[in-house]
Symmetry: C2
Amino acid sequence: MTRSQKQIPLHLNISEQIQQRIISGYYLPGTKLPSERKLIEEWKVSRITIRRAIANLVQQGLVTTHQGKGAFVTEKHKVAYTLSSPLTFLQNDLANKGIGLSLQNITFELVTATAELQKILQLPSNNPTAYLQKKLLLTDNVPGGVDITYILPEIGQKLATELKQNMTFPVLERNNWKIERVAAIIECTNANLELSEYLDVSLGHPLLVYRHTAYTTHNHPLVHGETISRGDRFCYSVEQFS
Amino acid sequence: MTRSQKQIPLHLNISEQIQQRIISGYYLPGTKLPSERKLIEEWKVSRITIRRAIANLVQQGLVTTHQGKGAFVTEKHKVAYTLSSPLTFLQNDLANKGIGLSLQNITFELVTATAELQKILQLPSNNPTAYLQKKLLLTDNVPGGVDITYILPEIGQKLATELKQNMTFPVLERNNWKIERVAAIIECTNANLELSEYLDVSLGHPLLVYRHTAYTTHNHPLVHGETISRGDRFCYSVEQFS
């Protein structure tokens, strides 16, 4: 709030001005920023100051560096999942937009449920278990998200083969488990080590989380999980009516 | 994917194990982590390794450091805005949850519209203008978000005094501009310098963005803007039905 009264470090001043050029379209998405040498000449500052300015832009997701190739203005094409009622499954919604969704199974195993999961999935209180499935989601063959889902044990056991090769909701519906309602929270988080490796991002990279529980008839929960996607590649769209 | 085959740096190994303790509830939200000295003793590593491990946890948002007081497990209480139809305005939705929403006007000025904004707000193509309002949003008196809204010039001029003191949608409805539809995109981004100062977070901190356009009758746009909130304090909830 007292910004104008404070001394702003030189590298921040420069990164803010470069940011303005990106926002105004002077530097276009996908194009290479001028070389370090040219930026040093333009701003008449040290190499270390320019490097810090670029690092600020990388940290803000505005610029991506490719080893040995320089710094590029981040491309803005994000895949949007439309949160609509009636519910359209992710794969169908993306197909309608011309985007292919595929998956790679990472884990599929029976685990002991935590107290929280036991409550959410209404599992028996003595020895509650659920199948834990982790899968990598690819949009047009590029890793964009990781899905971590807990499935009722009787469903996971019966449909294991299908679930390892397909998205969860279509498999459930094909097997007469109608999805009547999905309750979800959308939040953001930072990549931990495991997610940073699957999604090819640095530790701490901003990620969108769609944490959801799917219910069949009579409010009977079937699955609970999180779809965690790269914030630079994915978003959600929603319409509200009065 | 080849994680098990790779050599993981010691500080990452330690931060992952501390993360497990946080997730399992062994270290509870809001409590202080053991001191650097105790962690060094436990893991039998150097001070620099422990500091890097803690820095990893800070970067993931799992731990918050307070100068001179040590490192604390981040508290998890997030404010959720329910994206429902019929539309409930943010202030009313939070009031229903016992959370007070207030605002501080930062900027209110007539600006020249970009080509994109001109299209979104259906402004005249010769000399398109709009009022730009920036305001700080506080939940229970704590800064949680910044709202950046572009308002039709005729509305901004007429309702300037009210808009500087109140949330946009209720002011519009009180003045007979009924909000019929809000179309929104939810995405995440990183804090730039300006946002990091308003929201008291570090540069690059993950932020949720609710980018929206509000329409009155006959699909006539009234305002377009972004509500940018701290990812560690805010989330969106949504229900989808078959």
